[in-house]
């Protein structure tokens, strides 16, 4: 068995593999050069590919993503880093109004094959402006692919797919997973965007999770197994394309659905999954559809408070127990 690698290392590895393959892949972002990125997710790239392909930028999120867009429209495949996903708000016009619309509004004349990658999520005590899980923001915008891996190997496989994609991809790397270890990706590992992974088989309830909530759902499933409840766990891996078929198929077997999402309940991505199942999967449902999401408040700094706000293994377990009793 190969040595385990971290999720953090896998980010740089995933990018490096594509940069070796394709000279049009270039990186830009704040402190990603010699410094290797504040999360060290770009370590080694500057040394291997040099300053022309791994470019430090000013603190100018609009220029970073806007320039990546212009470059993508003219032959490059830029990988732009937005340091914390909260800062996507500083360049939201590009994500919401420009990048996803250009192909459509020009009648297919232009495309924007870029990746915007960003460190996402909470649980580390970074406070209200550095802790949000905002995949749901991107999910409101047709025209963006939205990817959020949960394992080192998936990071590499999905990064390859994202960079090779001719469509714009927002790639969420979870801060809470950077130190997590897993099997290294095999050579030439490329996953298909939009294919969920059933990471645990079960019969009684379907748990749908994404990124940081995948290990959470798995831990809950373990605990539930000890109580005789057999939970299936689906790692969506991407929100767009959304593997709704996988969810519907699973719920068709289990008849119960719990969605585990890190974003606040209001406007969360899980609501769309729930609404699909409440419509197309209605007949298979034997119990209410439940969402374990964050409380509808900003993220607090103190651990004791953050724990109250974010989803947790206990909250997932409790939700499933309540449904099982239904």
């Amino acid at each position: 068995m190969a040595e385990l690698v971290t999720y953090r290392e896998s980010v740089a590895e995933g990018i490096a593999r594509e940069m070796r393959r394709d000279r049009d892949v270039v990186c830009l972002g704040e402190d990603i050069g010699a410094a290797g990125g504040v999360f060290k997710t770009a370590v080694g790239l500057f040394d291997e590919f040099g300053p022309e392909r791994v470019r430090d930028t000013p603190i100018s999120e609009q220029a970073i993503v806007g320039a990546a867009m212009g470059a993508a429209m003219t032959g490059l495949r830029p990988v732009a880093e937005i340091m914390f996903s909260d800062f996507l708000a500083c360049c939201w016009d590009y994500l919401a109004n420009e990048i996803p619309k250009v192909r459509y509004m020009t009648g297919g004349q232009l495309g924007v094959p870029l990746v915007v990658r960003t460190a996402n999520g909470g649980g580390l005590g970074f406070g209200a402006q550095h802790s949000q899980a905002v995949e749901n923001w991107a999910f409101t915008v047709p025209g963006l692919k939205v990817v959020a891996p949960s394992t080192p190997s998936d990071v590499v496989g999905l990064m390859a797919a994202a960079i090779r994609s001719d469509d714009p991809v927002v790639f969420f790397e979870h801060k809470g997973l950077f130190a997590a270890k897993g099997e290294p990706a095999p050579p030439d590992h490329v996953l298909e965007l939009g294919r969920a992974a059933t990471v645990r088989r079960g019969d009684d309830v379907t748990l749908v999770a994404l990124a940081w909530t995948v290990p959470m759902a798995m831990a809950a499933a373990e605990e539930l197994a000890r109580e005789g409840i057999s939970a299936e766990v689906i790692d969506l891996r991407s929100l767009v394309p959304l593997d709704a078929a996988a969810v519907l198929e699973s719920v068709g077997r289990t008849s119960r659905l719990v969605i585990v999402e890190e974003n606040p309940y209001q406007g969360g991505w899980g609501a769309t999954v729930a609404s699909i199942v409440a419509d197309e999967g209605f007949e298979s449902l034997d119990a209410p559809v439940r969402r374990v999401a964050a409380e509808c408040v900003p993220l607090p700094f103190a651990d004791a408070l953050e724990d109250v706000v974010l989803p947790s293994v206990d909250k997932v377990t409790a939700a499933v127990q309540a449904l099982a009793a239904y």
């Binding site: 806007g66 470059a71 016009d93 459509y104 009648g107 469509d167």
Partner: protein, 324 residues
């Protein structure tokens, strides 16, 4: 040179008439939504295009008819777009504010003020990286100089020393508000180039030869690796901001003064000065008139936008599927 100027004149005449046709079609209920006419500002587009290579990149705003036409979009394709026809530049999916002709290096019209400046920077980066010698040009209004994207774009372009031209069409107004009332410096673009250690030129945007010269010089510098230039072209729009605006906020004498400096009149005078017979100029006008008339007929005769197109072109595979 006189030959070239006559060509420029004819291009401007075509643009003027195409926009006039758009206006009339609007009043006739055949163009929906809104339009922002560039009448009066033709010299900027035509002069700049004349100085650019065919493979250079141009980015424009919602007020972009003149740039699309100057870069080679046909009046028929532009009008068809405005009239929601399937033969429109964007097959009816873009409209007046998003005219695009990518195969002519016209990489789009963007309707969020300032948004395209960083895109032009990126296109210039791409050109520099690929070593193609192309330049990118962003055209924008005076009002765009107060939005954050302007600042970020100029700074990044300067630091990376990219082959990009920032061409401000200062027509003195942002919508209904004089630019001077919301900007503390007299020349909103040129006076700010220093913040980025960039050279700037303040020019007469109604003189097509002046524009062409300035853009050529700046493009040469850019191609030589000497970085970006800020060009501020003073000009004036003959109409209101958009089709709903009668532009009553503009003093009559200001309007009069600028109408007297109509870029077409200026070019005509210059042609006369150069000894070009008036008949030749009139003939150019007639050709323009005919071309646009035919374009209107062609656009009117074209089939409407295809409803099936509503659900295409979101993704590179041509479709719009977001789930399996």
């Amino acid at each position: 040179m006189t030959h070239q100027l006559l060509d420029r004149y004819e291009q401007m005449a075509v643009i003027r008439r195409t926009e006039k046709a758009a206006h009339d079609l609007f009043l006739a209920g055949k163009v929906k939504g809104t339009t922002h006419l560039a009448s009066g500002q033709e010299a900027v587009a035509v002069g700049a295009s004349a100085a650019l290579r065919a493979d250079d990149y141009v980015f424009a705003t919602y007020r972009g008819h003149h740039h699309a036409l100057a870069r080679g979009a046909s009046p028929a394709a532009c009008l068809a777009e405005l009239m929601s026809r399937s033969t429109g530049l964007c097959r009816g999916k873009g409209g007046s504010m998003h005219l695009t002709k990518a195969d002519a290096g016209m990489l789009g019209s963007y309707a969020i003020v300032g948004s395209h400046l960083p895109m032009a920077v990126g296109a210039a980066w791409s050109a520099a990286y690929r070593g193609t010698g192309q330049v990118a040009v962003a055209f924008f209004g005076d009002g765009a100089t107060n939005i954050g994207a302007f600042h970020e774009a100029l700074n990044l372009a300067a630091v990376w020393r990219l082959p990009v031209l920032f061409v401000c069409e200062n027509n003195l107004y942002m919508e209904y508000t004089p630019i001077g009332s919301v900007t503390p410096v007299p020349n909103p673009a040129a006076d700010r180039a220093g913040s980025y250690a960039l050279p700037s030129e303040l020019i007469d945007g109604n003189d097509v030869e002046v524009v062409e010269d300035a853009v050529r010089t700046a493009a040469d510098r850019a191609r030589a690796g000497e970085g970006p230039t800020v060009i501020e072209a003073r000009t004036y729009r003959h109409h209101g901001h958009s089709r709903t605006d009668p532009a009553t906020y503009r003093p009559a004498d200001e309007v009069e003064e600028w109408l007297a400096r109509d870029p077409l009149l200026l070019a005509r005078a210059r042609l006369a000065e150069l000894g070009v017979p008036e008949g030749k100029v009139d003939a150019a006008d007639e050709r323009a008139e005919r071309l646009v008339k035919e374009a209107v007929a062609e656009a009117e005769a074209a089939p409407g936008a295809d409803p099936a197109d509503a659900l295409t072109d979101v993704w590179a595979d041509g479709g719009a599927t977001w789930r399996s």
